[in-house]
Symmetry: C3
Subunit: 323 residues, 3 copies
């Protein structure tokens, strides 16, 4: 890409792509991840009741991506545990964030400028993780584009994707929500990154690896900082809405007729009639779901930032939610 | 087996055993699987809210067997994703069934004769999958009869066996039910198939592989068509009941005494008294369970074909339920 | 260690370390495990409704450790199924405990002296399992101390650690509890064992393998027998409390201030205010949790030995709970 050479940023991006994540960026990732765990409802109470569960939960936040991508490729999910220095750093971050006297560590890290820097550094690790996942999958599946996307996504946004099971460790169970039903900002942006890096690795993009790394990292950092400072919304919301309307929503208006067609004529069961009603009852069932959600989370502590509208509260959540 | 040669069906069965599942039979399997997903309560609503979750759920319906058997043998669960043409077909089936304008595709496929043919073709793929699972396990565990049965069963009925987790993707959680607690017809018939193929592969049956394949496939197709047309019940229900009474039920009448014996005399806990009551309370607890079940499913949409009697509603369910 | 030689117990411990677990000790483990399953609320009812689910649940009790440690190291979770003689023994134990006419088998095994011997034998297998797990992990991760601890723990206490999913097989779902949130005695003691054996295998302990095996086995057997006979509490309770106060509790008194600090100043979301309340509401949420717990378990049968105090009822539970 000549523009890169022209502006002399080619060397810069090459230098960036050789940056080592260990120890500084990894540490920032651990601190921000454990802080977002601490901000989950009920997490502080769990930290007091059972440090072991809290530690395990923190490690799922810190290493969820590596664990999930490992499992997808049938590699040992304990592999991250064998990296002693990273485990030590993550454990230190966990201890300081949760049990530091007078909560000094958390208080300092939560000051906006500090948190901004830490969050930006954490975002930088995402590029490395997504690329790592894509290349890990490419070793085994040379032509498996989808496998590369899945593994890159899993490695970059693993903590979010396994959140149901991470919550289970803390005694919280919210089956009504998961990252596939309602993707958070980090999950979406990681999916886009996984697709881009997969295309790049298979030479479908007119970019070299270090160039895409710089562009994606820059985008991640700028968006994150902007969202934290101004509460701006997810930048691709309109693209997403357009795609949704193009491919899925137009058809969704046919539901009423779809319901009718859904009674498989002549099938012996005779139980299908209920199904038509079922789908019409969907709007009501939404509120049901929200209700049961509330009941579920009430068993630990009230949930923060509940959004009855569901889809569009990504911006607010982004500064809270880890991948 | 001379009967095979005598009737000249040996060549026929040999020809059948060389049939390729790709692309026709696989496509039928994908269409029927995605259609049964669409007939699940709440699935259409999920398709509108989150196409990603709906797609993932569909893939679990289509490739659940391959994923589960892969996991059992510690092979990568993403392996099915690497098969690009099958993924494309399954994704196409998913898109057409859920989002085709005016629901045209689903309506056509749900017409009884079309659905009959598709379902019969899907049943044929079951034979190949069960045999594939058994042989996959045999590679690693030459003497592990149980491993072969388990893997064959998992590969042939994986979608059903992981249904709890498939539902979780769609935000539905019904812990009270699973395919082990109350097996559906496809799960049972696949288990029988896995046992038969394991015995055949280890030369305990006086049949060659292609002969058993023909017999089992024929049985699957005829039973399925009969069940769809006449609503006939599961053909082995009486064998099952007889076996149950022979091995398990006779003893079950001893429960009252069993309860008493369950107070481990002299053990220090002193909490066992409640247990005797617990078991006596079982009939009542059944209705409790049904209630909570209702409450659970009410959070999405009313469940279809609820059977308070539990065990004997296989026939009706069979035409609905995928493997 | 000269004391060992001095008292002439070195030969004894060497002999003990060469003891074969198969078939006697393994059988005792299976019988005691299946008996503790039978003593779970609702288990007898499941045994009557679905022998398959009951068998599967029993196998998870018997082989949970091997399955979990296999999964952690990306080895096939079906591997235990390939050991035909052990499966046969475990299946026999399952059948006799659940379906023996007049419940004769369970009644005999539940007589205190018989149960004492069986439980002691089961505890002996724990040493072998923990050591096996540690050495299994050491093959792949020579320097991964944490991996060794995790695998040893998983192999020795797997049944307990996967109890949430074992319960799911029986249609019971209790997300509020798990072995990490509230460790039972066997889980704790296995963790200690896994740490000790990991240290020994890496030459951080002035003990040889057979010596540590004897010491740990002796401790396990004596503690178990003492707890069953006198209802004595967990011997390390005071150490645990001291450690907790040293590392975690002192900081926990800062929660009120921690809550305040948890409002990340200047962050755009504006939803954090609820979080402060959330944590203060924790004591109330506890009773909520207990309530929902009751509701959950009421769907099967009333739970035995419910402990509202939570942490300190280990002794009573120890004689009930399997590994």
């Amino acid at each position: 890409m000549d523009l890169f050479t022209f502006f002399g940023v080619n060397e810069l991006s090459l230098g960036l792509s050789r940056l080592s994540m260990f120890p500084l960026f990894d540490t920032a990732h651990y601190i921000v991840s454990v802080m977002s765990l601490k901000e989950q409802p009920g997490a502080v109470e769990v930290a007091q009741r059972s440090p072991v569960a809290c530690w395990f939960s923190s490690m799922l936040y810190c290493f969820g991506g590596a664990i999930l991508s490992g499992m997808l490729l049938a590699e040992p999910p304990v592999a991250p545990l064998s990296n002693n220095s990273n485990m030590l750093l993550a454990t230190l971050a966990w201890y300081l964030v949760f049990y530091c006297p007078h909560d000094l560590f958390y208080r300092c890290a939560a000051i906006l400028p500090v948190r901004l820097v830490l969050s930006a550094m954490k975002e930088i690790t995402r590029t490395w993780k997504v690329l790592g996942g894509v290349m890990q999958a490419k070793k085994t599946y040379q032509n498996g584009l989808l496998v590369m996307v899945a593994t890159g996504w899993a490695k970059g946004a693993g903590g979010g994707l396994i959140s149901n099971f991470e919550q289970l460790v803390r005694g919280v169970w919210k089956p009504e929500t998961n990252e596939l039903l309602k993707m958070s900002y980090p999950t979406k942006i990681t999916l886009i990154g996984a697709v881009l890096f997969t295309l790049q690795q298979n030479h479908y993009l007119p970019l070299e690896q270090h160039q895409l790394m710089s562009l994606y990292t820059g985008f991640l950092v700028i968006t994150k900082v902007r969202m934290m400072l101004t509460g701006a919304s997810y930048p691709f919301a309109f693209v997403e809405t357009a795609l949704y309307h193009l491919f899925f929503a137009a058809r969704a208006t046919d539901t009423t007729s779809a319901d009718k067609s859904k009674e498989p004529n002549g099938l012996p069961s005779g139980t299908c009639a209920a199904d038509g009603k079922a789908v019409k009852a969907a709007p009501e069932s939404c509120s049901h779901s929200a209700l049961s959600h509330t009941r579920e989370s009430a068993s630990s502590v009230p949930e923060r930032g509940k959004s009855p509208t569901g889809e569009r509260d990504l911006a607010g959540a982004a500064s809270k939610k880890t991948d």
